[in-house]
């Protein structure tokens, strides 16, 4: 895992002082709230319905036990004893006082963490494959590049006020676990015929009210030119985006309006310019960073056996454990979706337990996933039972990864000022409806994603089943969508028809799911069946 040197530390420490000063000037009335707003946003501080919300960056979703314990400490000291993992591999706290925020940032800085650029019109925390460095299906660990990009995009002067937020994701595997093409800029590490490693570059993706799946704008970019290329993209967008309508300022709109080819042409022109200026990091810097991501000292000669005599444990293994590249090891997914709970929420005690498990069983490493779960990336198969027992005891033993109750939901009207409808209670009710383990297992992979408004923080466009909360004449109403995906075959979900009230949406989801069960062919997931029969195959069942 990456470790700060004196420079990185000096930068986050300076940011703490900077924010302390900005907060002081605001509290002294030297700044209007309007002027303070973008400054606090660039530091992850939102004003929500009941309090401030602080979003803390977890770069590329990787953290260690010391950091997780600090997150627990913050939950206990400054919040109400819990935190909420988000769809961008970050964690947020919902009950923060403005005057505490500088102290929280100072606490975070002691464990090499920060909230820099976690919101506002800035280059956000870089997301990555949560299995990076552990999965057998990747070409190379993508995180050194994610870390380089993190550094380059921290306080980037030219892009101090971008038209909107800018989200970057990096993966290096065939399977896409990061919803790659839903990002403004998506990088996939590939190998060309000569065996060289480079980036496939996608641009112009994003959810929100006008969803777009990112276009491929570069087939192969040498890895040591990535910083020039990113700057080129950012400059073309910063200079040419509209500034008169907040809903039309994301890069996806510019790419769409210019057309893929013209956008590419402009980026390539600017890219040549940056390349000639020699601003990319040298190989030595890549090597320095990559050394931190060297594989941990895996033991050899370990047993591949897992004792499956305990049926509950066996069920959990089948659902939560993924193949690891090192013999005798496994990747463990920890569900933060116990039926009836708030998706992504975790208590301080649970955070501490997970930290202990990481330290003891996973080379001190943890990951957060965009599906609001956690991962212990490197667990010996012989330790799986001990890990499961501990998780189970702490209420974290749910076996529902990618199943119907593994629901992504945004905070919605329970917290968010922009919401039209509540997301959390709908997620809870659907999970309760499908709680039966055999039924879930029978339904197989089925990703439900819920957003409380058109901003789509709950990724409803990418849900096999998506739910969007809307305001219908002053009452909460829910639209149902089918057929979205964030994996390597990315697709955008489509609206089924008229919306439903809160009870009605749960029934409608069940009708869609039952329809799938009736018409599925052997081996078909819900999404496969939808793709085969289309909306028409479901519509009647849903609306009768």
């Amino acid at each position: 895992m990456y470790k700060y040197d004196q420079y990185d530390q000096a930068m986050v420490d300076a940011r703490v002082a900077d924010f302390r000063d900005q907060t002081r000037r605001r509290l002294e009335g030297k700044m209007t709230d309007d002027q303070f707003k973008p400054l606090r946003l660039k530091n992850g501080l939102y004003l929500q319905l009941h309090a401030y919300m602080l979003r803390v960056a977890i770069p590329y979703g990787t953290l260690d036990s010391r950091q997780m314990r600090k997150l627990a400490y913050i939950a206990r000291t400054y919040d109400r004893g819990y935190g909420h993992f988000t769809t961008r591999q970050n964690i947020q706290y919902n009950w923060i006082k403005l005057e505490d925020a500088p102290d929280i940032l100072a606490d975070l800085a002691t464990v090499e963490m920060h909230a820099i650029q976690t919101s506002g019109e800035s280059i956000r925390n870089i997301s990555a494959d949560q299995y990076a460095g552990a999965t057998a299906d990747e070409i190379i660990d993508p995180r050194p590049w994610a870390e380089m990009i993190r550094q380059m995009t921290t306080f980037m002067p030219e892009f101090s006020y971008l038209p909107r937020k800018f989200k970057i994701a990096v993966i290096a595997a065939e399977a896409d676990r990061a919803a790659l093409r839903w990002h403004d800029c998506a990088l996939r590490i590939v190998q060309n015929e000569a065996g060289e490693i480079g980036f496939q570059v996608f641009a112009g993706g994003g959810m929100g009210r006008t969803p777009f799946i990112a276009y491929k704008i570069r087939e192969f970019l040498p890895t040591n030119q990535i910083l020039s290329y990113l700057q080129a993209i950012l400059r073309v967008w910063n200079r040419n985006a509209r500034r008169d309508n907040i809903h039309k300022q994301r890069m996806k709109i510019l790419v769409h309006e210019l057309g893929e080819d013209e956008f590419r042409r402009q980026v390539e022109e600017e890219f040549e310019h940056f390349l000639a200026r020699g601003e990319d990091f040298p190989q030595a810097e890549y090597d320095r960073i990559a050394a931190y991501f060297a594989p941990p000292p895996f033991e050899t000669g370990l047993s591949e056996e897992i004792d499956r005599s305990d049926p509950d444990f066996a069920l959990w293994v089948d659902q939560q454990v993924a193949a690891h590249k090192a013999p005798g090891y496994a990747i463990v997914n920890i569900s933060l979706k116990p039926v009836g709970q708030i998706p992504g929420d975790i208590s301080a005690e649970q955070m501490e337990l997970v930290a202990d498990l990481a330290e003891r069983y996973s080379f001190d490493e943890l990951r957060a996933t965009h599906a609001q779960n956690l991962v212990l990336p490197h667990v010996r198969k012989q330790d799986l039972h001990a890990v499961w027992s501990a998780l189970h005891e702490a209420g974290l033993g749910e076996a529902n990864l990618d199943l119907v109750t593994d629901i992504i939901a945004c905070p919605g009207l329970d917290y968010c000022t922009l919401a039209n409808a509540r997301s959390i209670p709908v997620a809870q009710k659907i999970a309760e409806r499908f709680a039966d383990a055999d039924r879930q297992k029978d339904l197989g992979e089925l990703k439900i994603k819920i957003s409380g408004c058109i901003n789509a923080c709950g990724h409803h466009h990418a849900g096999h089943i998506g739910i969007l909360g809307v305001d219908r004449k002053g009452t909460e109403n829910y639209q149902l969508l089918l057929g979205g995906s964030g994996d390597e075959e990315t697709s955008q979900a489509k609206i089924t028809g008229p919306g439903f009230d809160e009870a009605g949406i749960v029934d409608a989801v069940e009708r869609a799911v039952e329809r799938y069960r009736e018409i599925r062919e052997p081996g078909e997931r819900f999404l496969d069946t939808y793709r085969r029969v289309g909306m028409d195959g479901f519509k009647e069942a849903i609306y009768g």
Binding site: Y7, A10, A17, P157, E158, S160, R235, R243, A276
Partner: protein, 164 residues
Amino acid sequence: MVDGPRAGGPGGGPGTLEPTPGGERDWLRFRDDSAPDEPAVSLDAFLDQSNAGSVRIEAGDDVRLLGPHLERLRLVEIDFPKFRDGRGFSSARILREMGYDGEIKATGEVLVDLIYFMRRCGFDSFAPNVPLDRADVESVLNRYPHVYQHAADAAVPIWQLRHG
């Protein structure tokens, strides 16, 4: 670096505040030369008028059109109609990349917390439409000990410090 100097003209890096002597009025000017006194004209007018030396760039203007005329240019004013409109940052940096070393002045909604980043993009004078607190500006300009990337100033990025 091939097509122009990185240094943003006189005045040092973003962390140094060396305002010209000469009173309150000038403490937001980071140059040693005297300020040009001719009024800035619009980009269109500048391109039409062969003798103009000062130009005013609106947020949507393309500063690359100034490329052939850098010789006669002494002042470029770049306007920030709203502090959220960040196009001017690119405009200033592009001018410095083209080799322009005359004055670049930020006008309009120039806020204290933007000045540090503006200095890094090559701005070397400021005419905010709302007065700024001098102590606040000094503190903001000296806040960050290092930078992570090249811009239009002379600051050496961290990666370069790491590898000598």
